[in-house]
């Protein structure tokens, strides 16, 4: 039983559950709410906030997991969002290395810069695997809108990702 609880409370399970929650928001409410015709990137928000909350390596892993889950419901090649979101998570975590105790505004800025980079990087990655016609001027509108949205929600989501990524103390006790 203790082992079962340990599995349930592990960061992997938590990230998976948070991912399911984020994906369901992405495909329902944020699929309807399209400011300026742009689909807001909730999965990307969770990916970059993982980096801010858990560092570059955790950010890369969690970002890859979120991207992979997103790919599973899209028609784009499986793994493409995974690698882009993984990179965004890594980038967000890496930026925090330079600051001892990042302030709230720094976290928001990191999330916004990582988001913009990922939104531009995705059509470029599509181009690499042979999907043409996505890298055009519309990407700028997408990047600006997604960046602003992710900046607004950066702090609460970072807090949520901190809960998901940091190993709980009780689990450590059970594991002994």
């Amino acid at each position: 039983m203790k082992r079962l609880f340990a599995v349930i409370e592990s960061p992997v399970t938590r990230v998976f559950l948070v991912g399911l929650f984020a994906l369901s928001l992405q495909t329902t409410i944020f699929n309807t709410l399209r400011p300026f015709g742009v689909v807001l990137q909730v999965m990307l928000l969770f990916a970059v906030c993982s980096g801010v909350a858990g560092g570059s390596e955790n950010g890369a892993l969690a970002g890859f997991a979120f991207g992979f889950m997103y790919d599973l419901i899209l028609t784009t090649p499986l793994g493409l969002s995974g690698v882009v979101f993984g990179f965004a998570g890594y980038m967000a975590g890496w930026a925090n290395v330079f600051v001892h105790e990042p302030k709230w505004w720094f976290k928001i800025t990191t999330v916004m810069v990582s988001t913009a980079t990922a939104v531009v990087l995705f059509p470029a990655a599509c181009l690499v695997v042979g999907i043409d016609g996505l890298l055009d001027s519309r990407v700028v509108t997408l990047a600006v809108t997604c960046t602003v949205f992710n900046g607004i929600l950066a702090l609460p989501v970072t807090r949520l990702m901190k809960w998901a990524l940091v190993k709980p103390v009780r689990q450590a006790v059970w594991a002994e």
């Binding site: 994906l23 992405q26 944020f30 028609t75 499986l78 793994g79 493409l80 995974g82």
Partner: protein, 381 residues
């Protein structure tokens, strides 16, 4: 760790692009886990979505509703003319044992969701493999071509729109109609003009309404009439058609997969005289075939590989575009795609590019029809 992630991504992309069954299995399993969560979230968030739509779309919906009402009134007449033309075409095709769209079974499905991505242009339908839908099947609506099925689970399927950059299909382009000089010919005669059986006529309103605009079944050689013939670019005709139901004969044989020799009961002809506008017949003649490719969100598809030769006829705006068909094509022949909206001439032997206005409004899809016709190129090996 980062290297492992990169390698994993590369492996997954490679497997997916080679249509691996492993990747399909993962997608199906994840779909089974995710659907209940999505359904629950949908129930919870629907009020918020509706409130958002109410705030953002209300004025637009009111205007659209009024415009649509006007459009319906205008199209009622045209639909009657189109039904008569389709009936004639199907009768001719049936007589020659050729396949028609009427011979292909179809499934009506509702659009239940669109892609949660800014880059892929897909829609989700509420029907899947259990309704006979398979990958590669063509999707249409009342207006014309919509796209093709790219993924199908038991109860759901995903449609890639014709505007997606990955979508390409062979099409036929109509020839630009020659512009006749606006003239009126008055031909007083003591004998009836020579009329061929089956020729459509355009006459004044004094003549027998039963004959006006329809196929001539017989020409009375003893009649003495004065006929006034006007040849305008578009012809307005008054049609009276008795309400009947026609059962077409069985076609003989066909080699097209998914096509069943048909016995089609056409809808009854509408009764009463109606003022209708028939499009110029010149625009319906095919000029040549080309390849139509999507170009992404907000951009019209283009047609390549069209020759710029006056021998084949002029290219111009407004000519119809229909699917070319053929054993390797994604869709059966003569499915309405849209009209040419712009001709872009290019230097050298590249030939012109044609921009196409799709007949189907892809912005507001609700119910669509999936033709249960799987092209040979889409059948899994």
């Amino acid at each position: 760790m980062i290297v492992v992630l990169l390698l994993t991504s590369t492996l997954l992309i490679t497997l997916d692009m080679r249509d691996s069954g492993f990747v399909g299995g993962i997608r199906d399993t994840f779909g089974a886990i995710f659907r209940p969560v999505e359904r629950f979230t949908n129930v919870v968030t629907t009020p918020i979505s509706n409130a958002w739509r109410g705030v953002v779309d209300y004025a637009e919906l009111r205007e659209e509703n009024l415009a649509l009402k006007d459009l319906i009134v205008k199209q009622e007449g045209s639909a009657i003319a189109a039904a008569a033309t389709v009936r004639e075409a199907q009768e001719l095709l049936a007589l020659n044992g050729l396949p028609t769209l009427a011979g292909i079974d179809s499934v009506t499905a509702q659009v239940v969701g669109q892609s949660p991505s800014n880059f892929s242009q897909t829609f989700e339908l509420n029907r899947g493999k259990s309704s006979g839908i398979r990958v590669g099947m063509t999707v249409t609506n009342g207006a014309g071509l919509v796209g093709k099925i790219t993924d199908a689970t038991l109860e759901r399927s995903v449609v890639m729109l014709a505007t997606d950059p990955e979508y390409a299909i062979a099409v036929k382009v109509g020839v630009c109609p020659t512009k006749p000089a606006p003239s009126t010919t008055v031909a007083p005669s003591t004998t009836a003009p020579e009329l061929e059986v089956g020729t459509a006529t355009t006459t004044g309103s004094e003549l027998d309404p039963g004959l006006i605009g329809g196929p001539v079944e017989s020409a009375d050689p003893d009649a003495t009439t004065t006929t006034q013939t006007t040849v305008p670019p578009t012809t307005t005709t008054t049609t009276t058609v008795p309400p009947t139901t026609t059962t077409l004969p069985l076609a003989t044989t066909t080699t097209i997969k998914g096509f069943t020799p048909f016995s089609t009961t056409l809808p009854p002809r509408p009764g009463g005289a109606t003022q209708i506008t028939v499009p110029e017949t010149g625009g319906l003649l095919p000029r040549e075939t080309g390849a139509m490719e999507g170009r992404g969100i907000g951009r019209t598809p283009i047609i390549r590989f069209i020759q710029s030769s006056s021998r084949l006829g002029e290219l111009c705006q407004g000519v119809p575009v229909v699917t070319a068909g053929g054993s390797q094509s994604l869709a059966p022949a003569d499915l309405v795609v849209g009209t040419v909206s712009r001709v872009v001439n290019r230097k050298g032997s590249a030939g012109p590019l044609l921009e196409v206005d799709l007949a189907a409004n892809l912005e507001s899809l609700n119910f669509v029809r999936v033709l249960l016709y799987q092209p040979a190129t889409e059948i899994p090996r």
